[in-house]
Structures are given as C-alpha cells and as structure tokens.
C-alpha cells in the first residue's frame, strides 16, 4: 500500500512541478521606484522610475496631491530596463499628510517603492502594492518603518524567486546530516551576502541575462549530483556540498542584488537597506528550509517508503527545471 501511496505522491509532485515551471521561468521582481527629495521648505525633486523593456514601459503613473504645482515639466527617457522621469514640484505643506496615488498599480503584479528624503536627512520608505496603491505621507518618518519595508522586500524577493528556492532545495537533497546542513546553508548565506553587498554598493555588476543563465545552470548542475548521491557515488559536490553552495551562492547573491540595485537607492541609504534586505532574504530562506525539513521528517514518521524511482524524483524535477530555465533564458538572451 505504501508503495502505491508514495507513487501517488510522487505523481502529484511531478504534476505540480510541471504546472509551476512555465510560471516560474522568469524571476521578475522589478518594482517601480518613486523618489521625492526635498530641496527647500516646500519644494521637491521627483524621480519616477518604471520597469520597461525596449520602448515599452509598465502602465504605472504617479498622481500627486492636487495642491502640488509642477515647477518643471517631467522629462522622461528610457534607460537600460526602465523609463525614468524627473521633475520638480512645490507643495505648501511639504507633502505632510498629503496622499500620493499610483494609478494602474491595482492591476499589476509589481510593487512601487516610495522614498521621501527630507531636508533634515530623515527618510521615509514605503512599499505600495496592488492591494494598497496610495500613500499618506507621514509628517515624522521613523527609521524602523524604512527598515521594516526593506525587510519585507527581502522576504518577498527570496520567496518569489523559485529558482533560488529550488537551488536551496537541491542542496537539501545532497546533505546527509545536521552538521553538513549547517555548513552548507551557512556557506550559501555567507557567499550570497558577499556578492549582494558588492553589487549593491556598485563595486561589481553582473549582466542580468548572463546571470540568469548561470543561476539556471547551477540548478541544472545539482540534478545529476543528487542522482549520483542516491547511487552511493562520490564527488566533490556530494562529499562537500558546502563548497558548491559557496561557489554558486556568489552567483545567487548577484541575483538577489537586483532587488535593490534596480531601485537606484542613494548611497547613504544602502547600508540599512542592504542589512535589512539580507535579513529578509535569510528569514525567507530559513523558513523555506524549515518547512521542507518539517515535511520530510513528517513523511518519515508516517512511514512513507521511498521506492528507488520515487526517491530520484526530486533530482529529476530539479534537473528538468534547471534545463528548462537554462534553455529558456539562453533563447531569451539571444
């Protein structure tokens, strides 16, 4: 009976994986960004950055309070992957208590990060979402509100990145004891933190297309290694998965960095943003690992016996999705 049950579960997993694959092919976390920088008691410089591809931009538009006056007309231009507009405004109350709307956001999947920097150096960062498309500008912003926003962006970034999660899942399939698990997860965390910091501070940059292909390749690489591991074979990856976790973690860190670098944050804002974003990524990653291990342990307690082909199913799912994404991203790049 348990053989039938495990096969049923395996089949369900395969169906789910195949269903998710097309949706997960693109790891699109590209928020729009609105920056309002105070330049005098009642004036602001505005930067409005909307994700774009070629000369097509997302249909997101800023609606400032009615008592705002444009001091200069918006000047727009397409950059690499965004449409950027800049202009200056005047508001009698320096926007305190005023409401900013983002038109078109309710029907999008993306978010908008709103950053308001005042003359005294205080900064308010707020994330607007399809379920919450407007912001009442607070009179007295707090640093922990900004910190909480970046924390949320980090959690959302990792949980929305199916490719990152699948790589972590692949690593879990390779480890055989708690010590190795600790070393592997720590190595992955340290590595991606290093490149996340390097990329966010602007010391290095990885082209998005090449990076996405390499991340997909890192997942594809794990598939055969998991098969070898189940067969009792040895390799550097199987015996020391933390080394592979570290090496590929460097790549994934550049991928995580896209969640921050695309916002074009000012340098003074980066340390807090980087710290909280990374903490958010770790929270999401550890939550995912905890759930996976909890389910795995529970299946063992319930006495599910994995047949050979069932036990190999995760490896084939990881390898297949890795290959699917690799090919898809290569095709998309050329």
């Amino acid at each position: 009976m348990s053989v039938v049950l495990s096969r049923t579960l395996a089949l369900l997993a395969l169906v789910l994986a195949s269903a998710i694959a097309p949706r997960a092919a693109a790891h699109e976390v590209r928020p729009a960004y609105l920056e309002l920088k105070q330049t005098s008691a009642d004036t602001f410089d505005v930067v409005w950055k909307v994700p774009a591809r070629g000369d097509m931009r997302l249909g997101l538009y800023v609606r400032l309070p009615a008592d705002c006056v444009n001091l200069t007309e918006p000047q727009g231009m397409f950059t690499d992957e965004a449409f950027v507009e800049r202009w200056s405004i005047r508001h009698p109350d320096a926007l305190a208590g005023a409401t900013i709307h983002i038109d078109g956001l309710a029907t999008m999947l993306t978010d908008v990060l709103v950053r308001i920097e005042r003359l005294d150096g205080t900064v308010t960062v707020t994330q607007l979402k399809p379920t919450n498309t407007s912001l009442v500008v607070p009179a007295a912003p707090t640093w922990w509100q900004s910190a909480a926003t970046y924390l949320g962006i980090g959690i959302k970034h990792i949980l929305g990145g199916v490719d990152h999660l699948l790589f972590v899942f692949g690593l879990l399939c390779l480890v055989h004891n708690r010590w190795m698990l600790l070393k592997t997860i720590t190595a992955f965390t340290v590595a991606h933190s290093i490149t996340l910091a390097i990329a966010t501070f602007g010391y290095a940059h990885a082209p998005a297309a090449a990076l996405n292909i390499l991340i997909a390749l890192s997942i594809l690489f794990l598939g055969p290694e998991i098969v070898r591991s189940y067969r009792g074979q040895h390799s550097l990856t199987i015996d020391h998965p933390w080394i592979v976790a570290f090496a590929f973690g460097l790549l994934h860190g550049f991928g995580f960095a896209s969640g921050l670098t695309e916002l074009g944050l000012p340098r003074s804002e980066i340390p807090l943003a980087l710290l909280m974003f990374n903490v958010g990524v770790e929270i999401g990653q550890l939550g995912f690992v905890a759930i996976m291990l909890g389910v795995w342990q529970s299946l063992k307690v319930l006495g599910f016996r994995m047949e050979a082909w069932t036990a190999l199913l995760p490896a084939y799912i990881i390898g297949t999705l890795g290959a699917f994404w690799t090919i898809g991203r290569i095709v998309a790049a050329f």
Binding site: M1, L9, L12, I20, K156, V295, L302, G303
Partner: protein
C-alpha cells in the same frame, strides 16, 4: 465496519454538506507574496480548514502511522479534486457554516473520546471532507483572484499542514501523550459547538 457502510456514511456526509452550502462574499487571505503563497496560507489562517485538518489528523494519529499516511493521501487528493472542480465550475463563492460547525463538533468529540475509527472509514471521510472543503476553497479562489496558482498553493498548504500535524499526532500518541490530542479535540468540539449555536441563533432568532 464494511466498505459499503463506510462509503454510504461518506456519501451521506457529502450530501449533507452540499445541501447546506450557501453563497458568500469572496475571500482569500492576502500575504502580499503572490497567489501561490496566498493559497498556501489559506488553510493556516482559515479556522474552518485548520481545525478540520487538525481534527482529522488527531483521529488518524490514534490509528498509527499507516492511518496517518492513508488519511494524508485521501484528504489531499479529495481536496485537490474539489479545488479544481470548483475553480473550473463555480460562479460564486460558497460557504457551508452549519455543515462546517457540525463537522468540527463531530471530529472534536470523536478525538476527545478517542473513538477508534476504522482506517477505511477515516479514509472515506477524509476524502469526502477534503472534496467538500476543496470545493469551498476553489470557489473562493475563483471569486477572489481567479488565478490557478492560488489553488496550487492551497493544495500545497493542505498537504504540508496535514502531513506535519498527522506526524506530530503520531509522535505524541507513541510517547503516551494522547491526552494532548484529546484536549485538542475538546477545543475543536467546543469551537464547533459555539459556531453551530451562533449559526442556529442567526437562523432562528429574528434580527433586531
């Protein structure tokens, strides 16, 4: 208990649930992490689903690991079928508050009394309840955001929750802590009774 009796009881329960359904306003929790996570969180934050799963898992735990894993498969498969059918067919969200309250009351009392439920009956009841709750969830997902990734999330959430709660129940039972499961059952029964009383009150007592 024979297979025919089990099947008959399960069909009767399903019929009762179907008869008790009524329209409701669309709802699905928003995690702000996308439709998959909205769906996965749904059974965790919806007391009707959560308590039903915990009650069934506790009953299964009394029967040991074999009972737990059979319930897991029956419940998840039933729930998934209900999700897909309702997601494809529903034109409004449905709720069955009285049937839900009765289900919680029965599951809670059975857990409290540690009623030895035959595995076959448990599997049949699990599949039927899964089918019904999946249909209710599917209609909610259809009306809330209409994204199929939501129902994939709900199925994943139900799987993880049932798996872990059944395993926890088995471990508690094995270590002689079945009293914890029975206390949990008493809470589920109490909540079911409260819900039933509330529903009957709103039905029987005129407003104002």
């Amino acid at each position: 208990m024979s297979a025919r009796t089990s099947f008959g009881m399960a069909i009767t329960a399903f019929g009762a649930i179907l008869c008790a359904v009524q329209p409701a306003s669309a709802h699905l929790v928003s995690t702000e992490l996308g439709p998959f996570y909205d769906g996965a969180a749904h059974p965790l934050v919806t007391p009707d689903d959560l308590l039903t799963i915990l009650g069934l898992a506790a009953l299964a735990a009394f029967g040991g690991p074999a009972s737990g894993r059979r319930l897991l498969v029956a419940l998840v498969v039933g729930w998934s079928v209900g999700l897909v059918l309702a997601f494809g067919l529903a034109h409004r969200e449905w709720q069955a508050p009285i049937a839900t309250a009765c289900t919680l009351l029965v599951l809670g009392v059975a857990t409290l009394l540690k009623v030895p439920v035959p595995t076959l009956l448990l599997v049949a009841v699990g599949a039927v309840i899964g089918l019904a709750r999946g249909a209710l969830n599917g209609s909610a997902a259809r009306m809330a955001d209409g994204q199929w990734l939501s129902i994939v999330g709900i199925a994943a959430g139900v799987f993880a929750l049932t798996c872990m709660s059944a395993a926890l129940g088995v471990v508690l039972e094995k270590r002689g802590w079945s009293i914890a499961l029975r206390v949990g059952g008493s809470w589920i029964a109490a909540i079911g009774l409260l819900l039933l009383g509330w529903q009957l009150r709103t039905m029987l007592v005129p407003a104002g």
